[in-house]
């Protein structure tokens, strides 16, 4: 049986064909997530580079179909591996592009334990793995499936992200293959890699070994105007054996114990918040961590450990919801790394409203209550 992760929206035809589900929404989403609306200069630079590209390519070719790239049969294979979830949004495309830079004349194949989150034909996959059997549940099974794919392709290099859960997968493969990997790689091109050592304080450059673990900063997706074959290889991932550790699932999140520095979503309260029950309710609905401005922590409404800012925690949450926070410079320092900021404040001229991607002029209490009400009415 061919294992398919078919989304409920997939058409019957997709489900019947042998192709793995390709999340066609993903590349757009990934691209979208990466722009920073606050970096104006970056955008201008990108625009210039884009203009340059369009000047270089005559407009006739730009409008025609991309030509098909077929890797020669004897080309060295580079196998790009991605775990159950992408290490970062767009990681699969980024790894494919970087694999091509590492071995420009190589044949690049993608084996992912989760969904295919890029368009393999434009991202640069000459080959693509579909699994027969369960390749996902448990570390041993995942490693077993990948070893089968490695045995099939006999790649010259195996490329993974050295980030998130893929870092674990990479080390398990290294030990299983008895290969010394290049880890924390910050640059990979033309057969050479640069690795960070001594906790990132020093680096060295050398020839790429078989296993290469890339940091996100080393990666860039393929930008050329080509179409790749993405030829399917079916790999049998079904194997006997027992997982040493069972997975009992994620533990319920409590907004008051969730770590501020790790959370994806942080809900912050300032002096404009009076209804703390609603604040915690909102945070619980969003599985977020609760934080406060200094004023709030000074007043004892939240513990000191929950203070965000220059004299509190510097957070890196992807989402920050600021209720009744004025956005003093000391507070903004703490949320500099936050990707998306939503502010609810009665004062449209509060500095936080400048920093926010979505600024709503309204009473924090009322909006918090409406949010909870809205989210508790679970629409299936």
């Amino acid at each position: 049986m061919i294992r398919q992760r078919v989304s409920p929206h997939a058409t019957a035809r997709q489900a019947a064909s042998g192709r793995p589900r390709v999340n066609r929404m993903a590349p757009t989403k990934a691209r979208r997530l990466r722009i920073d609306p606050h970096i104006e200069t970056g955008q201008r630079l990108r625009r210039e580079m884009r203009d340059e590209a369009s000047v270089a390519a005559p407009s006739t070719t730009a409008r025609s179909q991309p030509s098909l790239h077929v890797a020669p049969a004897d080309a060295p294979v580079v196998l790009v591996i991605s775990g159950v979830a992408e290490a970062w949004p767009g990681a699969q495309a980024d790894l494919l592009g970087t694999a091509r830079e590492l071995v420009p004349d190589g044949a690049i194949a993608l084996a992912t334990l989760g969904d295919v989150e890029c368009d393999p034909e434009s991202a640069g996959a000459d080959g693509l793995v579909t699994w027969i059997g369960d390749c996902q549940s448990g570390e041993s099974r995942q490693v077993g499936a990948l070893l089968a794919a490695i045995a099939h392709y006999r790649p010259a290099h195996i490329v993974l992200a050295d980030e998130a859960a893929d870092a674990d997968l990479l080390r398990r493969l290294a030990v299983a293959l008895e290969e010394h990997p290049a880890l924390q790689v910050t640059s990979a091109r033309g057969g050479k890699v640069t690795c960070l050592v001594d906790a990132g304080t020093r680096q060295f450059t050398g020839p790429a070994p078989k296993l290469v673990g890339l940091r996100r900063s080393a990666c860039a997706a393929f930008e050329g105007f080509l179409r790749f074959e993405a030829r399917i290889s079916e790999i049998d991932a079904s194997m006997p054996g027992r997982e040493p550790f069972t997975d009992e699932g994620l533990l319920p999140v409590r907004s008051d114990t969730l770590s501020l520095t790790e959370a994806e979503m942080v809900v912050g309260a300032g002096a404009g918040v009076t209804d703390y029950d609603s604040l915690f309710a909102v945070a619980d609905c969003l599985s977020g961590a609760v934080a406060g401005s200094r004023v709030v922590c000074d007043a004892g409404s939240l513990p000191r450990a929950r203070q965000v800012g220059a004299s509190g925690s510097i957070i890196e949450a992807r989402f920050y919801l600021a209720f009744g926070i004025s956005g003093a410079p000391q507070h903004l320092q703490g949320i500099r790394a936050c990707r998306y900021v939503v502010a609810v404040n009665t004062d449209p001229h509060a500095p936080i409203m400048e920093r926010a991607d979505l600024a709503i002029v309204a009473d924090a209490q009322a909006v918090m209550r409406a949010l909870t009400e809205r989210m508790e009415k679970v629409p299936q």
Binding site: A85, V175, E223, P244, F245, T246, E248, E264, A356, V367
Partner: protein, 262 residues
């Protein structure tokens, strides 16, 4: 206190290096591993393999472990063989490591290699464990600060995450009375010697020309809305920005609006 028989939990401690001053110190992750071992209430056996640094080892002793076995090796020698030999002789229920070391390759590969040499399963990103009556419950750090529960049986190797509980402080009195027991060990210098090291360059994400074409979410100021509409705006925004929890709320509402408009 506990009526269940106590197990032995081994902890492998390394010498860290302060990232700014460069001075040797306890490696933060190893401190957390030691904290976890001490807090578990089981018998703790602490190991250090390498040239050693008396002051740092004493700091570890100050956290409340009675003695540390120091497997003395030359600088740059391969600690894997010495460590596995000592661990195999002790045969502890659990072996704990910190997730990453601060000196050397900092690759976090050592726990995996030790696990393989001892033929034990390994779990990483561990934030806590409970070992009772031969059953092992482990919490593991997951994305977004969440925790995953895993179950298994000893023996096992665990690598402790930076997200594990903060370690206790080191007490001077205990640091002085604790014992460092030195065992001369034989370790070969590893075959792979590191090439010439240079100071690391600052990393910045690579520019991606031509991509990022469409703007996702411009900055937006919303005024004069009801609280309900404001809440909906927020959920729609979060859904567009890729926050999974907001997706169902945004979609249904859009569908509803659509129906109303028709």
């Amino acid at each position: 206190m506990s009526d269940t028989p106590s197990f032995t939990v081994a902890v492998c401690l390394s010498i860290g290096r302060h990232p700014v001053s460069g001075r040797p110190r306890m490696a933060p992750c190893d401190r957390q591993a030691l904290e976890m071992a001490i807090a578990s209430g089981h018998h703790v056996a602490a190991f250090h393999a390498g040239p050693g640094d008396e002051a740092v080892l004493r700091d570890y002793l100050g956290m409340g472990v009675g003695e540390i076995s120091h497997l003395e090796l030359g600088d740059g020698a391969d600690i894997l063989a010495a460590l596995t030999e000592a661990l195999a002789a002790l045969d502890p229920a659990l072996v704990l490591f910190g997730d990453v070391a601060e000196i050397g390759p900092s690759s976090g590969l050592l726990p995996y290699m030790v696990a393989k040499m001892l033929s034990r399963p390994i779990l990483t990103s561990v934030t806590g464990f409970e070992l009772r009556a031969g059953e092992l419950a482990i919490t593991q750090a997951a994305a977004g600060g969440r925790r995953r529960l895993r179950r298994g049986v000893p023996p096992a190797v665990l690598a402790v995450s930076r997200s594990a509980p903060a370690p206790r402080l080191s007490a001077y009195a205990r640091a002085r009375t604790g014992k460092i027991i030195t065992h001369p060990a034989t370790g070969e210098t590893p075959a792979i010697t590191m090439p010439e090291l240079r100071p690391a360059k600052r990393q910045s994400a690579r520019l991606r020309p031509g991509r990022n074409a469409e703007a996702a979410t411009g900055r937006r100021l919303v005024e004069d809305v009801t609280a309900e509409d404001a809440a909906q705006e927020i959920l729609e925004f979060l859904a567009r920005a890729g926050f999974a929890k907001a997706l169902p709320f945004a979609d249904t509402q859009r569908a509803k609006n659509g129906n109303q408009n028709v």
